[in-house]
Structures are given as structure tokens and as C-alpha cells.
């Protein structure tokens, strides 16, 4: 038994814990370990004593408040109805997915072989657990993660989604998150973000959802539209209720939410195409992510999906850094797995598929450019970590750890495989044969 064996035990156990006999024997003859145990006990006792103060006034105030407040009694019935709704909605979703799968299976039998490979499978939901993983704290007391974190997973999923039904679901989730955030801000009287949130919501609903349902096969459309219209109507009611509760000046700022929902509902009902999307006019992170999600939902080939995944990686890497610097290390850390998934599945896997199918090398330049962009985006974390203040480091480090595999894979792709260079170069770096004029690669000619 050495100090090296004993120290982890001392650090992990409380000072009054009974230690095994061999540990006690070591402590009795090792002054350093025995001193460490004493120091740890002193520190723990000191920390326990730090918060000691006269609590009576605060407790009396709390008691006075609690005596005046009644518990909301109708919550249990509301909770039951919410669960019933979830069960029905869940069953409907499963039925839709099964139908989509069945249709895909049927059409894949009859349609001619595609020249482009299938995009990478969606991996983002792999870890989603059952309801036991929901937060135990009630929704009204839960501090939500930053909006960009809540949007990251569905946005990443969209960059890998291949079905219109899945895209509708992803865009709907994002719109719900943005709208919930806007209503929460409005109810708290915070108005600064409302116009931009309303604009992001508008793009998701009026363009994203409408475009997806417009292009859908008729059979899918008939089934999806009905439930989607119900969701839009419910959301519109939520907005109306929130507007009633807000002061008129604030209500005016959330009016566009209801308008977008109404317009989208009309367009979907009549199967109108969406009006053209205006380009994003601001660098507001949520706005950029929303725009990228919409672009992702329009990407219909692995190459386009890889392209938008690389851009999304850049946006989320920037978001990770900003959250860390803003002291929201936990939120920043949550973006790590999304980045990892985007880099692995969205960029690397899709590019591998493109390369495998592209025997003539038509897309080689684009593939290489996307790989470089993804590697560059992933490098943002490392570069910022070097200069980050101590408070920002844990979040960044955690995000980097979580996205390690994806970043490595992106970096490998960006640099190319070792030992291989441009086709016109020898292994030792000398020029062998060039596709350009004068035996030199394009851009190297003397003028």
C-alpha cells in the first residue's frame, strides 16, 4: 500500500468514513497521508461553517409568503391531459414514420438506381432516452438552456434528415423553441430580442414548414398536414393568450408570431408554394442558425448536406465560444456533442459517400473545400481556448472533449491523407507532371 493508492481514497471519502484496515495501517505510519486527511477534514468543516448565519428572519418571511399562497390545485388534471396528448401525438408520429419507411421501401424497389449516394443516417436521436430522462423539476421552475443550445440539436438533425416528414418535424421543433423563448421573454417584459425572435420564427414557419409540405408526396401530405394544421392552430392560441396577458406595447411585438402561424396555416391548407426567402440580414446567432436549418432542409444531396453541415459547424463553434466567454460554460459544453455529430455524420460521412460515388472526381474540389471549411470551423475552439479567460475554459474544454472525434476526423480530411499530395507532385515534393501549362500546376506559371 503506497501513498499513491491511498490518496484517491482520501479525496473521495468523507473524513469520518471508516477506512479499510490496510489503509489505516498506512495512515498510522505515513505522516504525509495522515496530514492530508486532517487538512481535508479541516477544509470540509470550514466550508460547512461558511454558510452559517441567522436564518430566522428569512424563514419567517418565507413562511409569511407561503401562508398566503395557495397551491395550484388543477395542475394534476392538466398534467394528465398533457400526458394523454403526448401519448396520442407519439402514436401518430410512430405511424407517420412507419408509413414513410413503408413508402420509401416501396419506391426504392420501383425507382431506377440513383447516381448520388444516400446521405448519412440520422444519428442525433440515438441517445434520446425515455421520459425518465426528462428533468424532474417542474417546467415552470426549470431554467432553460440558452436558445441556441436548444436549437442546435434539431438544426443538426435537419442537416442529416432525408425525408420531408422528418424535416417538417425538425423545423416544427425549432419554431416551437423560438416561439416559447419569445413568449417567455415577453411575459418577463424583456423586449430587446423579440423582433429578431419573431423574424426567426417567421422564417421557420412561413418559409420552412410551407416549403416542406408543398413539395411532399400527396399521401404524406394528406397525413402530415392535418396534424400540422392542428399544431399551428394550437400555437396561435398560445400566442393569443400570451398577448392578452402582456402590456399592449409588448403584445404588439409578439403579434408577428401569430400572423406567421396564420399565414403558414393558410398556405399549407391551400398547398401554396412559399414566398421566396430573403437573405439573412444580421449576424444574430439564432437568426444565422435558423437560416442554416432552413438551408439544410432544402439540401437534397450528400454534397449539399455536407456543405450546410460545415457552415453549421462554424456557427455552432462560434456560439460555443461566445457562451463560454459569457460564463455559460454548461451550455457551451452541451454544444460539444452536437458539433461532434455534425462533423462526423454531417460532414465526414456525407463527403465519404460523395467521394465513393464520384469516380471521375467531378466533385473533388468542392469536397476538399468543404473539408477545409469544416476543419477551419472546428479549429475555432482550439484557437479561442488558448486566449480564453479562466472562467471560460471549463465549458470550452468540455465542448472540445465532446467533439474530439469529429474534429480529428475533420482535421484529417482537411489536411489530406499522409504521404499523398496533389496528383502532380512526387512523394519527395518535386514536380512530376502538372495539369497546367509549362509543367507547373495552375496558378504557378510565371507571367
Amino acid at each position: 500500500m503506497t501513498c499513491h493508492d491511498v490518496e484517491p481514497w482520501l479525496l473521495a471519502t468523507r473524513s469520518d468514513t471508516d477506512l479499510p484496515v490496510d489503509f489505516l495501517q498506512h495512515l498510522s505510519r505515513c505522516e504525509a497521508c495522515s496530514r492530508l486527511r486532517e487538512r481535508l477534514a479541516e477544509i470540509d468543516d470550514g466550508v460547512r461553517a461558511l454558510g452559517d448565519t441567522d436564518d430566522r428572519p428569512a424563514l419567517e418571511r418565507l413562511e409569511a409568503v407561503l401562508n398566503e399562497v395557495e397551491q395550484p390545485r388543477d395542475l394534476q388534471s392538466r398534467l394528465l391531459s398533457r400526458w394523454a396528448y403526448r401519448i396520442v401525438a407519439g402514436t401518430a408520429c410512430i405511424a407517420l414514420v412507419m408509413l414513410g419507411w413503408g413508402l420509401g421501401y416501396q419506391t426504392s424497389k420501383s425507382s431506377p438506381p440513383k447516381t448520388e449516394p444516400a446521405p448519412a443516417p440520422n444519428e442525433l436521436n440515438r441517445g434520446a432516452g425515455p421520459d425518465t430522462q426528462r428533468p424532474i423539476a417542474p417546467p415552470d421552475s426549470a431554467a432553460p438552456a440558452a436558445l441556441i443550445v436548444r436549437l442546435a440539436a434539431p438544426a443538426g438533425k435537419l442537416a442529416q434528415e432525408t425525408t420531408a416528414v422528418g424535416r417538417v418535424s425538425g423545423l416544427g421543433t425549432m419554431a416551437d423553441e423560438v416561439r416559447t423563448e419569445a413568449l417567455r421573454e415577453a411575459s418577463a417584459g424583456r423586449t430587446a430580442e423579440l423582433p429578431r425572435l419573431a423574424e426567426s420564427h417567421d422564417r421557420l414557419v412561413r418559409y420552412g414548414l410551407v416549403a416542406q409540405t408543398h413539395g411532399m408526396p400527396e399521401l404524406d401530405r394528406a397525413r402530415v398536414v392535418q396534424s400540422l394544421l392542428g399544431d399551428l392552430a394550437r400555437a396561435e392560441k398560445e400566442v393569443a393568450v400570451a398577448m392578452d396577458r402582456c402590456p399592449p406595447a409588448v403584445a404588439e411585438l409578439i403579434t408577428p408570431l401569430g400572423q406567421s402561424l396564420r399565414d403558414a396555416g393558410d398556405a399549407i391548407r391551400t398547398n401554396r408554394p412559399p414566398s421566396p426567402l430573403e437573405p439573412a440580414t444580421t449576424d444574430y446567432p439564432v437568426y444565422s442558425l435558423t437560416a442554416l436549418a432552413i438551408r439544410a432542409s432544402d439540401a437534397n444531396s450528400p454534397l449539399r448536406q455536407a456543405d450546410v453541415s460545415a457552415d453549421m459547424t462554424a456557427a455552432l463553434a462560434r456560439g460555443t465560444v461566445l457562451l463560454s466567454l459569457g460564463g455559460l460554460g454548461e451550455d457551451a459544453a452541451k454544444l460539444g456533442p452536437v458539433l461532434d455529430n455534425l462533423l462526423l455524420r454531417g460532414v465526414a460521412d456525407n463527403l465519404d459517400r460523395v467521394t465513393a460515388a464520384d469516380r471521375e472526381g467531378k466533385h473533388a474540389v468542392e469536397v476538399s473545400e468543404i473539408r477545409s471549411r469544416a476543419a477551419e470551423a472546428a479549429g475555432v475552439l482550439e484557437r479561442n481556448l488558448a486566449k480564453a479567460p479562466p472562467v471560460a475554459r471549463p465549458g470550452l474544454e468540455k465542448a472540445m472533449e465532446a467533439s474530439k472525434h469529429g474534429r480529428e476526423r475533420a482535421a484529417e480530411g482537411g489536411k489530406g491523407k499522409s504521404g499523398k499530395g496533389p496528383p502532380w507532385k512526387r512523394a519527395d515534393g518535386t514536380v512530376k507532371e502538372s495539369p497546367g501549362k509549362g509543367g507547373l500546376p495552375p496558378g504557378f506559371q510565371k507571367k
Binding site: I43, V47, A58, L62, L66, P135, D140, E330
Partner: protein, 187 residues
């Protein structure tokens, strides 16, 4: 917590969820100190910690009818506390109170032992506040609530291993930082 206390607590939780104020008062009496001490450790201000603790128990009272199982009460309560703390941190209005200038801060003439104790407490307070927040919350929960790692992990939404590692790291850093001071006070 032993079995008797556990059963007693679950009984309080069920009664409080049904609107029994006396049962909720018993829960407050049991958990006020650990919750307030934990929040104090995280935010470093007595009054803020008290305010937050009041909010936590208020929300717990309002949310109890929705609590699915009485067994998870304390994890649920500390999650509310954590959420309240994080929400406050996110608030743009949050900011540390300025220290009082020396002339208002109170008389300085104290016995030497009192000063030494005060110095130790301040150093400890500062050392804890310098810990990364992830280590801080795990270590303070471990110290103040006296819980097993499994429950700490549930509050912090992480694995038991990670919770243990964070506590160990926090303690390692504190010993490293406060070791010289502790040596001095012993001498």
C-alpha cells in the same frame, strides 16, 4: 438518510403535495440550511443565497402537486435550486455587490485569534469561489448536503463517476491552495 427519516420525509412530501402547510414547514426545516448553504457557496452572497432559497421553496410549494414521486423530492428540490441559481447567473442584471469601503465596514479592533479565524474563513471562501463552477457545485453539495455521489450526480445531471471526480478535484485543489495557510494556523 436512514429508512425511518426517509419514510417520514415521503409522508411529509405526500401531505405537502395535498396542500398540508405543516408538512411543508417540516420539509423546509429539514432542507433550508443545506439548500441555503449550497446556494451561498455558489453565489458567495448571503442575501442573494437567502433570496434564492426563498424562491426555491416557493417554487417547490407551487410545484409539489406535479411531483411524480415523493422519493425524488430532495433531488428535485436541489434541481430547482440549481435552476434558480443558473437563471440568476444568466440574468443580465446579475452582478457582484461592491465591497463596503473600510470606513463603513465596521470596527477592526479584534483579538488576534479572531483575525486569524477571519483570515482563514476569507481565504477558504475565496479559494472555493475560485474553483470552476462544475467542481464547486459538486463539492458544495457533497459537503453541505452530505449526500452519496449517486444523488449528487442526479442533481447535476451527470454520471456518478464524473460527480466523484469533480469532488476529488475540488478537494485536491483546495488542499493545494490552502495547505500553507493551514500549516501556519497550526503553528
Amino acid at each position: 438518510m436512514d429508512r425511518v427519516h426517509q419514510d417520514e420525509e415521503q409522508d411529509w412530501v405526500r401531505r405537502a403535495a395535498a396542500g398540508d402547510r405543516a408538512a411543508f414547514a417540516a420539509l423546509v426545516a429539514r432542507y433550508w440550511r443545506p439548500v441555503r448553504a449550497w446556494l451561498y457557496g455558489l453565489c458567495g452572497e448571503f442575501h442573494t443565497a437567502e433570496d434564492l432559497a426563498q424562491d426555491v421553496f416557493f417554487r417547490a410549494w407551487m410545484g409539489l402537486p406535479k411531483l411524480a414521486s415523493a422519493e425524488v423530492f430532495r433531488v428535485w428540490l436541489f434541481r430547482i435550486a440549481r435552476n434558480e441559481y443558473l437563471a440568476r447567473q444568466r440574468s443580465p442584471r446579475v452582478g457582484k455587490l461592491a465591497e463596503l469601503p473600510p470606513e463603513i465596514a465596521g470596527p477592526r479592533a479584534e483579538p488576534l485569534t479572531g483575525l486569524l479565524e477571519k483570515e482563514g474563513a476569507t481565504a477558504l471562501d475565496e479559494a472555493v469561489s475560485r474553483l470552476p463552477i462544475l467542481f464547486q457545485e459538486a463539492y458544495l453539495l457533497w459537503t453541505n448536503a452530505d449526500w452519496p455521489y449517486s444523488e449528487i450526480a442526479r442533481v447535476l445531471e451527470t454520471t456518478e463517476e464524473t460527480a466523484r471526480w469533480r469532488v476529488c478535484e475540488a478537494r485536491r485543489r483546495l488542499v493545494g491552495e490552502l495547505g500553507p495557510l493551514l500549516e501556519r494556523t497550526v503553528r
